[in-house]
């Protein structure tokens, strides 16, 4: 009985990043926390970058792709845009994983910042130029700043959770 419980807990912890990603994509609290005023951050970006960098087996590329589709539908964006953006984040993480010998949270965060800037620029360009959707650049900048700052906090939490799920 106890062993069963431990197994279930391990399973839950192993799938925690995936559950959190889908929860944040489907839930109303994920990125644009309008009720908190300026404080808005992109939790899916943090989850995708961290887990693609540290252990890509936790969340498959296909599942991230599907989460992007769900995000598009929930937010009313043209289908495929978020998936494409999420995959560019994975590309940055995969490149960093391939060239890094000694992982360091500060080096990771610098690449994360570059990935954030690139992904958000791409997102804004696609929505603005192809689909003619008007955007507020200040809000995006605030979003990028908070996402970058909160990466350190979430990386610490995920670092703590990772060995528990093995």
């Amino acid at each position: 009985m106890v062993q069963k419980k431990i197994k279930l807990l391990n399973k839950l912890l192993k799938h925690f990043p995936l559950i959190l990603l889908y929860f944040s994509v489907l839930n109303e609290f994920d990125i644009d926390v309008a009720s908190l005023g300026l404080l808005s951050f992109n939790l899916p970006f943090i989850i995708i970058f961290y887990w693609s960098l540290k252990d890509p087996d936790y969340i498959g590329n296909g599942l991230i792709f599907i989460s992007g589709i769900l995000n598009d539908v929930t937010l009313g964006y043209p289908i495929g845009v978020s998936s494409f953006i999420y995959l560019t984040i994975i590309a940055f993480a995969a490149y960093l994983r391939n060239i890094t010998l000694r992982p360091n949270v500060f080096k990771d965060s610098i690449v994360f910042l570059v990935a954030l800037l690139f992904a958000n620029s791409l997102n804004a360009s696609i929505l603005s130029f192809i689909f003619s959707i008007e955007i507020i650049f200040f809000e995006i900048l605030v979003n990028i700043t908070f996402t970058f700052l909160l990466y350190f906090l979430f990386a610490r939490i995920f670092n703590y959770l990772k060995p528990m799920s093995v």
Binding site: Y22, S40, P56, G60, N61, S83, Y95
Partner: protein, 280 residues
């Protein structure tokens, strides 16, 4: 120099093409597929439309279920804050009722007179009935301010219908699925509504700002608008019927800013109306 370039190429190639043990798809394949999807979503083929409706239906229901606990917590917090303000609010409401009762008699007289005059000049008269719908998801994205409603084509919802909350205009239907629909809010950056400013009957355009208020555009240079100015739909363009109240001018927020009568972040039920369906 050449070896560092080789390293870069190897790292990039590995990032895009290499699959780890549990990965089913390579990154490059998925990126190409997502570009294909973006291209498809720009086209209006019937098949794609039905697939999109199916995906929308499933996702909206799923998202509504996932959002349920958060919604309940927010409702409880709101209930608590309202509970503590109830005495003060009660006094204010009593005063307001007294004032409104005296005005009501005047309005009934004016309404009847207005109806008779409209009949005389042959203009359409609208009643206030419509389809009542519940807000499934009130998700406001960085780029789009919209709400998902639990009524769709099955219930007679059509693209372009107006969405009201307590008779105040809050948006318009932009996407219709079988049992759900999406309405763009008047606060959205892409929203432009022909309005009339009273008193004075100035014609203008109300634009969304992406925040919780709107802004009057294209008005006369010397136009003076104060907090007594009420914004109604003008009916120009035929997308909205004339006379729907939207909000009032609040220059404290921004010059010519319009504070909406409805709190767009707290909408639970709405009324959906079409111009054609509401003619008497």
């Amino acid at each position: 120099m050449a070896s560092s370039r080789d390293d870069f190429v190897i790292a990039v190639r590995s990032a895009f093409l290499k699959k780890s043990n549990k990965q089913q798809f390579s990154l490059l394949a998925l990126i190409l597929f997502s570009i294909f999807l973006i291209f498809l979503s720009n086209l209006n083929y019937v098949g794609i439309k039905y697939i999109k409706i199916g995906v929308n239906e499933a996702t909206y229901r799923l998202s509504s279920m996932v959002s349920y606990p958060e919604k309940k917590i927010n409702d409880s917090l709101r209930f608590l804050s309202e509970y503590f303000n109830v005495y003060k609010e009660n006094q204010n409401l009593k005063n307001q009722i007294d004032k409104l009762n005296s005005k009501k008699l005047n309005y009934i007289f004016l309404e009847n007179e207005n109806k008779k005059l409209k009949e005389l000049i042959g203009e359409n008269i609208y009643n206030s009935e419509g389809i009542i719908s519940k807000v499934l998801i009130g998700k406001e994205g960085k780029y789009l301010k919209s709400i998902i409603l639990n009524k769709g084509s099955r219930d007679g919802i059509k693209k372009g219908m107006v969405v009201l909350e307590k008779n105040y205009l809050i948006g318009q239907i932009i996407e219709v699925n079988y049992t759900t629909s999406r309405a763009i809010l008047i606060s959205d950056l892409n929203s432009n509504i022909p309005v009339v400013l009273e008193p004075g009957s100035f014609q203008s355009i109300l634009s969304g700002t992406g925040k919780d208020y709107g802004k009057i555009k294209y008005s006369k240079n010397k136009l003076i608008l104060d907090e007594k100015t009420i914004v109604y739909t003008s009916g120009s363009g035929g997308n909205f019927r004339a006379g729907l109240p939207i909000g009032k001018i609040n220059n404290n927020l921004e010059t010519f800013a319009v504070e909406f009568f409805s709190d767009l972040s707290q909408i639970t039920y709405v009324i959906i109306q079409s111009i054609e369906g509401q003619k008497e």
